[in-house]
Amino acid sequence: MSVDTLTGMPRPAAARPAAAHSFRRPTTEGPLAKAILITIALGFLALFLVLPLIAVFIEAFRKGAGEFLAALGEPDTLAAIRLTLTVAAIAVPLNLVFGVAAAWAIAKFEFKGKAFLTTLIDLPFSVSPVISGLVYVLLFGTGSVLGTWLKAHGIEILFAVPGIVLATVFVTFPFVARELIPLMQDQGTGDEEAALSLGASGWQTFRYVTLPNIKWGLLYGVLLCNARAMGEFGAVSVVSGHIRGLTNTMPLHVEILYNEYNFVAAFAVSTLLASLALVTLVFKSFLEYRYGDEIAATAKH
């Protein structure tokens, strides 16, 4: 029998299990509220994300796998895939370097114009992609000084690969920086100072201390940046000129095929883009699953 420590009186034994049973953590909702919230969330996801994704695949395979493969094997399609990969291969590393540099500057130094730089980094997010494309048309178009000069020297920017790369870089540059800035600000300069005081050079400090501290954020930023670089439509559409087999990226190619009522081909290329998104997600989940402890330790430490 338990004895109440305060009064010294025997406590009725039945009262305690009952009390324990009815106790619910204050932050936990009732079962009904839980069910409703889960249903809403899952229903929304199914309706807006899963259904369209399934539809894409169904449309692509409507006339069978043979037709699907044939559509992908077409030279123009192959050219579009190649161009998309090329653009991403240039834009992503550029933004990786830029993003780390910008995040480093913003998070670890105090300088004039820092707030302005932070706002500027967000610009591509806040401005419509079409405008982002138009900026380059104005900058390098035949009417502009720069455009005329470049043309005279035989360098094509607009309606050529360089223009597409520029527009893509512009649209995707916030991804890495945005991911890193809060992370690096949160971590401060303590670890770097510790490394320097132990005799490490600037590069060693970056290599052994800063980089490992930000690697998960960096990887995530790069994944997002890559997904967007391959999927960007608006800005690229303005500067590309839609020359088949030359300046068409995959998203642009999908549009052209669709407008030509070539639905199987359009959706076949779409499946590639959709798969890219899925692969990105799976890759990210895998990393979180495989290195979850380390990521959590990095985040909370």
């Binding site: 005081s197 050079s201 490992p212 501290n213 990095t298 909370k300």
Partner: protein
């Protein structure tokens, strides 16, 4: 390694964090920088380390001017307030980091680094934790790893910023003793920052008391406690009570009452009388004492603290009595400080400049120790 700080000032965007600080640290000494928050302790420590650059002045390591040396070149061991352990490295990798990043010519082999790390872990009494990550350690253990990491580079000077600041009282006391042992064994010149006076007085060979970007006093625990050279130090170290008094012909007056203390060589005028609440003798009224009405009486551990209202201006002072003292129950108490110090009348800067031109030194000479007559 002797460290000499010569007239160092530091400004942050025009805000002076240190004014003209000079300090000589002898080789092998354990020195505490003690002061209230914002007094510039961390700033001074970071200047010694080379993590900040002085606005003016120079810092010498031995005979060499280190002012323009980088933090890497100074070879100091710095233990940060929040440890700053590398979270993605194991304990052994953390400790070995300073050796790993050495230029190839004098970098020990991997095995040698690992051996050194284990050796240091033994020293800080954490043997067997080589492969843990910092997140798997307790606060006290992290603190020790941080110290081992700083010791690994065989630093010329060891600098610790509030080494025990984030730990609970029990662990602090343990680590304090332990740090003293390590210091005695390794003999590193060590400077540590603290705002805990007990820690500073107990641990350090000499204590540097800082306030508002200046060094107020440097001395042993006895010096700063028994012979404080400024009102600030008197008030900051240990308990203190103050009374505004007047000097007239070498006698101290509280309003119209002579309080039974005579001084020599002190100019007439207002002054502040500082004394320790426990260092008083009770008298039975009459002349030549300080008399007050009891306004509050509190039991604090082994003693009783009595708050008195003194004189017409109702100045409040605190004195400490033995718990069983018969007078403690009275409503009126007369006493006289057994030991005291007189500083020229308050008004912070006036007192400070008085310290500089030596008139506080006269007050020093005037210090009396009245024979205990209890």
């Amino acid at each position: 390694m002797d460290v000499s700080i010569r007239s160092v000032s530091k400004e942050f965007d025009g805000y002076p964090a240190l004014h003209d600080v000079s300090l000589d640290i002898r080789s092998g000494e354990l020195i505490a920088l003690l002061g209230p928050s914002g007094s510039g302790k961390t700033t001074l420590l970071r200047l010694i380390a080379g993590l900040e650059r002085p606005t003016a002045g120079a810092i010498f390591f031995g005979d060499e001017d280190a002012s323009h040396r980088t933090v890497q070149e100074r070879n100091v061991g710095f233990v940060f307030q929040h440890y700053a352990l590398f979270r993605h490295m194991t304990v052994a990798e953390n400790i070995g980091f300073g050796l790993k990043v050495r230029p190839a010519a004098n970098r020990p082999s991997k095995r040698e680094i690992r051996r050194r790390a284990s050796e240091l872990l033994d020293l800080v009494q954490l043997s067997g934790l080589e492969d843990r990550y910092p997140s798997q350690l307790s606060g006290g253990q992290r603190q020790r790893v941080a110290l081992a990491r700083a010791l690994a580079i065989e630093p010329r000077v060891l600098l610790l910023d509030e080494p025990f600041g984030a730990l609970d009282a029990q662990v602090r006391r343990e680590l304090r003793r332990w740090l003293r042992e390590i210091h005695d064994r390794t003999g590193h010149t060590t400077v540590f920052v603290t705002h805990d006076q007990e820690e500073a007085l107990e641990l350090a060979d000499r204590v540097v008391v800082m306030s508002r970007g200046r060094i107020e006093q440097v001395g042993s625990a006895d010096d700063v406690y028994d012979r404080p050279n400024s009102p600030f130090v008197f008030g900051f170290i240990g308990d203190s009570s103050v009374l505004p008094v007047r000097v007239e012909n070498g006698k101290l007056w509280l309003q119209d009452r002579f309080i039974g203390i005579e001084v020599r060589d002190v100019p007439d005028g207002p002054a502040s009388l500082y004394f320790r609440p426990h260092d008083v003798e009770l008298l039975d009224g009459g002349g030549g004492c300080i008399a007050g009405t009891v306004t509050a009486s509190r039991r604090v551990a082994g003693t009783r603290r009595v708050e008195l209202e003194v004189g017409g201006a109702r100045e409040r002072v605190e004195i400490e009595l033995p718990v069983d003292h018969p007078e403690a129950a009275n409503s009126r108490i007369s006493f006289r400080p057994r030991r005291w110090k007189l500083f020229p009348a308050s008004g912070g800067t006036a007192a400070l400049s008085a310290t500089d031109d030596g008139s506080a030194g006269k007050a020093d000479e005037a210090e009396l120790m009245l024979a205990a007559s209890l």
